[in-house]
């Protein structure tokens, strides 16, 4: 009897622990479109053409491309190869959580990483110019991790 009681106690603890952890994991996916601090949603995204997203997102302090970003840039490259008279500017941005000068350099690095990738997919470097705005032009002005993830971006803009 005593032994039984101990088991039930343990069981109760075990089950409540399970329930608790379920709560924690259940909260996350709804609404928050980030994967290891890179924005994966479409809230701020515009389109160069049907199915061709205009921007890619980055992790804090990083300028490496995620597989989703590479996919977007490949689509942009296809689109540019099909529209030979079109030139673009890649605008590199950082979030507000860094020092201004470093962010200018980081935005430049992000846009160039995107440019390099597009060049390997057959777009001439002459058609792509790059500008960094650092933290100067946020797209989402909130001070939240979600807003920051939307602001860490390289945006491809058509030049007339």
């Amino acid at each position: 009897m005593k032994f039984n009681k101990r088991i039930t106690n343990l069981l109760i603890i075990f089950i409540s622990a399970l329930a608790l952890s379920a709560c924690v994991t259940a909260k996350k996916p709804t609404g928050v479109s980030m994967s290891s601090d890179v924005y994966t949603g479409t809230d701020t995204v515009k389109y160069l053409a049907s199915g061709v997203k205009d921007r890619v997102f980055f992790a804090t302090n990083r300028s490496t491309l995620t597989s989703a970003s590479r996919d977007t840039l490949r689509k942009q490259s296809d689109y540019l190869r099909k529209n030979k008279d079109l030139n673009v500017v890649l605008e590199g941005h950082a979030d507000e959580r860094g020092t201004r000068e470093y962010n200018l350099a980081l935005g430049e690095k992000r846009a160039n990483t995107a440019k390099d990738y597009m060049m390997t997919y057959g777009v001439s470097g002459k058609r792509i110019s790059v500008i960094s705005y650092g933290k100067e032009k946020p797209v989402n002005s909130a001070s939240t991790p979600l807003a920051w993830s939307q602001n860490r971006r390289s945006v491809t803009v058509k030049v007339k």
Partner: protein, 445 residues
């Protein structure tokens, strides 16, 4: 040996007795500010209503500016004038020291104004109340419209005499004025006196401008402008308003600063995703590459003797502070604490480097010795960065941004200053929101 020590102490004592009367300790945070009485300036009766100049009013204004300067240091406590018993004219000739010590004043400033040949003459004296002695007496002659400068120069002289340090009141601060919502900020270069007066806007806000910095003579400013959407380092002559781009770099140049002799600009140049540090000689236009690394190298700042450069690099992975010789050799990482470090600036005294540190989502302004030892964090906040030194190396001015809500509400950017002791943190009031402050050197040297 004991005897020797004895003699030594006597000498010290004598020295103290002969020279320093009042001492203001500025090496530590001063929690017991020195009571100072700033007597209203006495107006010479013959100058009382000199043509159109309201001399009496100028006297009140000058003493109010001096008082405000002293209050702002946190080192002095200007006493309430209602308690003053002695008339300004008599006090200026020879104060009754007992009267002043009765109201706990330890130092007294008296002065006299007179007009002669359309010029304003301002005399002032600083008195040590406990030693019954005059400490300095000086006079300045200037045009009446220049009264504010005179008030700052007098404040500097008094500060220098009482603290043994160079003053910083007769200085200006250049900064970026900010208006409009966060996603569409309008930024202009602005300049003001150190006490927030005489604000002037140097650009119209048509293009984005960032990070202005004075040259050593305070006549030129180097800054980043997005004119025609090409981010480049520019030079602005404050008097003439003439702007010119610095060098013809095929890409973004940013993070500019002058060398201590004013002959070169040191800056970052970003090309193909890599930012390196370059200098450009302003006379010969000769460009030199100082760093060569595949990482981001930015925020360079010369040591005051021009022999060394501190800068920011992420070559170790995240932003850290490095030093090197001015030719780029001898690169040494000096920041090793937890967190990332940015915006290093060499103190005008040469001993310290001020920086921004980010750790666990908080931003700090701190100082460390130029070899990286003795790190001290002075202030913690949600967001603050870009410290700039007062010319005497006692204070830092920086900007602070507040956290904004879902639609950007509650956002502000303001200038703040703090003593390197970590005390006396205060906001520098500006007409608009403000960022990227840079402190001039003393205007009157």
């Amino acid at each position: 040996m004991k005897k020797l020590f004895y003699i030594f102490t006597i000498l010290i004592f004598k020295f103290n007795f002969a020279y320093s009367l009042i001492e203001v300790d500025i090496t530590r945070g001063n929690l017991d500010p020195l009571p100072i009485a700033i007597s209203p300036l006495h107006v010479d009766p013959q100058s009382d209503n000199y043509q159109d100049v309201k001399v009496k009013e100028l006297g009140d204004l000058i003493s109010a500016v001096i008082e405000k300067n002293f209050k702002s240091t946190g080192l002095f406590n200007p006493l309430n004038k209602d308690a003053f018993v002695q008339k300004p004219d008599i006090a200026h000739l020879k104060p009754r020291f007992e009267d002043w010590s009765l109201i706990t004043a330890q130092a007294l400033v008296t002065g006299k104004l007179l007009m002669k040949d359309d010029k304003l003459k301002v005399e002032f004296r600083l008195w040590d109340i406990s030693a019954n002695k005059e400490m300095i007496a000086l006079a300045f002659t200037t045009t009446p419209s220049n009264w504010r400068r005179v008030a700052h120069i007098i404040s500097d002289k008094i500060y220098e005499r009482l603290t043994g340090e160079t003053g910083y009141f007769d200085t200006r601060i250049i900064y970026v004025s900010e208006t409009g919502p966060k996603t569409q900020r309008v930024k202009k270069l602005a300049i003001m006196d150190q006490d927030g007066k005489n604000t002037k806007y140097l650009t119209l806000g048509n293009e984005l401008v960032l990070t202005p910095r004075f040259n050593p003579t305070n006549q030129l400013v180097t800054y980043l402008s997005y004119f025609r959407n090409l981010p480049r380092v520019y030079l602005l002559d404050i008097e003439t308003g003439i702007q010119e781009v610095v060098g013809n770099f095929p890409g973004m140049t940013f993070a500019p600063r002058f060398s201590p002799d004013g002959k070169k600009i040191i800056m970052s140049f970003a090309k193909d995703g890599n930012s390196d540090i370059y200098t450009m000689d302003l006379e010969t236009r000769l460009v030199e590459k100082i760093t060569e690394d595949s990482s981001i190298d930015t925020s360079p700042s010369f040591s005051p003797n021009g022999k060394y450069i501190c800068f920011n690099s992420d070559r170790s992975g995240l932003q850290q502070i490095y030093t090197m010789k001015s030719d780029g050799s001898g690169v040494k990482r000096i920041s090793f604490g937890n967190g990332i470090y940015g915006t290093p600036v060499w103190s005008p005294r040469g001993d310290l480097i001020a920086f921004t540190k980010v750790r666990a989502g908080k931003f700090y302004i701190g100082v460390m010795r130029s070899d990286g030892t003795g790190e001290r964090l002075l202030t913690e906040n949600f967001y603050q960065e870009a410290p700039s030194w007062s010319p005497n190396g006692r204070l830092l001015v920086f900007y602070r941004e507040t956290k904004s809500g879902q639609d950007g509400e509650g956002f502000s950017a303001k200038l703040w200053s703090i003593d390197i002791t970590g005390y006396n943190e205060r906001e520098l009031k500006t007409e608009t929101d403000a960022s990227d402050p840079s402190w001039s050197s003393l205007l009157s040297k």
